[in-house]
């Protein structure tokens, strides 16, 4: 706990809190369960992707192809659903197909990063433009709406437990599951290890390539899940619907305190990052802020958050006495 108080997560938590308090004052609506659930739901897709991105960034990598991969899976899912009968099997099938597709695409990234040793940002930049191009070529942007989906999927999309949408639950489940992997499995610790020091990792016999491939495949896996969430959320497939989402995802993760250089990052931090971005978007309308100024605010808040955090960090570092000086 004490460490948490000093942690990066703390500074982001503080910012979220301040923002929330301000919003509660400017708008009565903000602090209603209804609104907060909407915010969560609206950001579940980003959240799921951000959780995966956290692992990637912990290893010192980055994946700008997430949005592309997700849309690719969405599109294929959509096409499959056109021919699906309306029964439980279809739903299960979707939950099989989507993740597998994601994993395959992710593994390709992982392979290029680990075996061919191309920097992650470059690989994923390449795969991103390839996937986006192919999606556009194949679908020609064709938009699929819910009429073409099996009804069971719509039911799934509308499913709620205690008023909490399945989409949110999916996000929460993924977050917890990933947190568990990170904290309680060997591979999870190895993710942190190679982020902490690559050479040491190799010397203690950690299979560097394997871990990287895992991380990118897992990212792909979550992209598959995110695709399901996205389709359930919009009840439609819009091949262009996710363009540019990757930057939001990355922003959420680093706002959440993950170190872009690798070695540091937590799921709860990322969760906070997602929430921060979420309530900024939500708050801007609730606070009746003119459309034209909304981006100014968003940008300013991102800058403040990252700067504030960095300054905190420096302070702490300077305070941390290096020597026990004799009185």
């Amino acid at each position: 706990m004490k460490t948490f108080l000093k942690s990066k997560e703390m500074s982001i938590a503080v910012i979220v809190l301040l923002l929330a308090i301000t919003l509660t004052f400017v708008s009565p609506v903000f602090l209603t369960a209804d609104n907060l659930l909407d915010v969560l739901k609206a950001n579940s897709v980003i959240g799921i992707l951000a959780v995966g991105m956290t692992l990637v960034i912990i290893t010192g990598g980055i994946d700008v192809s997430v949005a592309a991969v997700t849309s690719a899976v969405c599109v294929i899912m959509g096409k499959v659903m056109l021919v699906m009968p309306d029964n439980m099997v279809s739903l299960l099938l979707i939950f099989l197909i989507a993740p597998v597709l994601g994993i395959i695409l992710g593994a390709i990234n992982g392979f290029l990063v680990s075996k061919i040793q191309i920097p992650a940002i470059v690989v994923t930049l390449g795969t991103m433009s390839i996937i986006n191009g192919l999606v556009l070529y194949i679908t020609n942007g064709q938009y699929l709406n819910s009429t073409s989906f099996p009804k069971i999927f719509i039911d799934f999309a509308n499913f709620e437990i205690l008023g909490i949408s399945i989409i949110i639950l999916l996000f929460i489940a993924i977050a917890i599951f990933t947190w568990y992997i990170l904290k309680y499995t060997v591979i999870g610790r190895e993710v942190l290890a190679i982020g902490g020091n690559k050479d040491s990792a190799v010397r203690v016999g950690i299979n560097f390539d394997k871990v990287q491939i895992f991380v990118f495949s897992y990212m792909g896996f979550l992209a598959g899940i995110a695709a399901i969430a996205q389709t359930a959320y919009t009840k439609a497939v819009d091949p262009n619907g996710l363009l540019g989402l990757e930057l939001l995802v990355i922003a959420a993760v680093v706002l959440g305190g993950a170190n872009i250089m690798g070695g540091r990052g937590t799921i709860h931090g990322t969760f906070l990052g997602v929430i921060l971005l979420g309530i900024v978007q939500n708050g801007l309308i609730l606070a009746h802020i003119s459309t034209f100024w909304q981006k100014v605010f968003t940008g300013a808040i991102i800058l403040l958050a990252v700067s504030y955090d960095q300054i905190q960090y420096k302070r702490a570092k300077n305070k941390l006495s290096k020597i026990e000086v004799e009185a």
């Binding site: 470059v122 991103m128 191009g133 100014v296 800058l303 990252v306």
Partner: protein
Amino acid sequence: MKALTLSKENILGLIALGLFVLMSLFTPSFFTSNNLNNMMFQLPEFGLIALAMMVVIVTGGIDLSITYTAALSGVSIAIMQSNGYPILTSILVGVIVGLLCGSVNGFIVSKIGVSPILVTLGTMVLFEGIILSITKGNSVSGFSEAYSLIGNGYYLGVVPLSIIIFIFFAILTGVLLTKTNWGRSVYMVGSNPIASLFSGVNNSRVLMKVYLYSALLAIIASIIMTSRYNSAKVDLGSSYLLQSVAAAVLGGTEIQGGYGKVIGTVYAVIIFQILSNGLNLLGVPRSIVGVMMGVILIFVLVLNFLKGKLDEKKQKRLQEAV
């Protein structure tokens, strides 16, 4: 022997040449004065932004706000012009605005020490917002005739003015990076900031200058664009953002910093230009053009990788032979 040890830049040059020949052979109306000319008009704006991106990447950073910096300065020029201010005054204002953007990035990166990708992610959104709140999203137009010559005019009636501007700044960048104190420090800071700090280099000044210079290149690009398109708008050149990163990297710039050559980036830009223009003339679906570029990017890097492996093997064999 020399032939065997081609630098990655040279390989790239050969690829560019090969593409050019292929296109000339198989694409009707590619190798026509008309089209070559056309490409010379298309290349500079992207080329300049790619160079701007490269300089930042050499320091181990990245500038996601580059296109909005360009757009913001472009918009301010447009506003000045449409309010009847003389060209030079307008451009001056545009330059100042652009440099301000650069200095915001430079300050937060070098003085506060936030990692560039985060800073520029923030400023990207911020600058876009500023433009939106100024222009209400509308495009600003009304440039003077003379202004439109910058992007559309010819030098000596044959060579597009813009390509000359590009060549000038490409050379300038090359000289600055390789022959000046600052340029050398850029590579040093990019390779090992701590060591360069301990060698009496003022890292934060070096970085500040880097972001100012890349902003300057972006401004030049935006002057060419606004003049060519005779209007400025929030999304001016926004499609160049990730392309410019790709071009820099394809050009051999190391994303983790410390290495990068102007000539490499220029070759990369040329490759993209030929590819896009040629494929368009061939009537290849435009989405596929994107695919092709991604493929080329990865292909070249895989090539470099294999080449590296090969060289190692060769070295080894030479050794054991001894």
